[in-house]
Subunit: 110 residues, 2 copies
């Protein structure tokens, strides 16, 4: 699994909708095909992309292969985005510092 | 800005590297081109994608146009991923409940 694949998987609205459905509970290809009005091969193709992206896994249940959400893809993206989040917060803290300094200077002059 | 564009922007390792550089502080096209050993038009193209994805903004400073990280793209992705995170945590809580029930049943039988 590579993080480029995880981000690419989420760049498609149909795949995000499939994940949103799986967030409600596991589902098979057949159970996904109906509400999405897609053919089963089309659904399977999207599921393959999501599986390779570490975002879903399949479970074997007799002849059924229900898919459910998985953590690895999400964890990798969360970690990466946390790096951006921290950098942005540092920027805002710095700006707060500048503004506070400007205000106290302003008060000093009055 | 649409969230598909934000996820797609992060699916490219060069664009993630540019963001990681901007996490250290703002930089111009010229300042980015050198360490990345890219032409300025190639850098500009990546910056355009990142700007349309709500992940960076440019600031006007005389003739310079330094780019820095921006919140909208990050916030949108964070919100979306939080939905998956919550669903996964519910799954784990459910599993914990099942395991706890199995353990207390096991103890009852001993």
């Amino acid at each position: 699994m590579d993080i480029s694949a995880s981000f690419a998987a989420l760049a498609d609205p149909t795949r995000r909708a499939i994940l949103a459905r799986l967030a409600l509970g596991e589902a098979t290809v057949m159970e996904l095909a109906k509400p999405f009005q897609m053919t089963q091969p089309a659904v399977s193709q999207h599921l393959k992309v999501l599986e390779e992206a570490g975002l879903i896994v399949q479970r074997v249940d007799g002849a059924r292969r229900p898919r459910r959400l998985a953590k690895p893809g999400l964890d990798a993206m969360d970690q990466w985005l946390a790096m951006l989040r921290k950098a942005l917060e540092r920027d805002y803290d710095r700006l707060d510092g500048v503004l506070a300094a400007m205000q106290s200077e302003g008060k000093g002059k009055r």
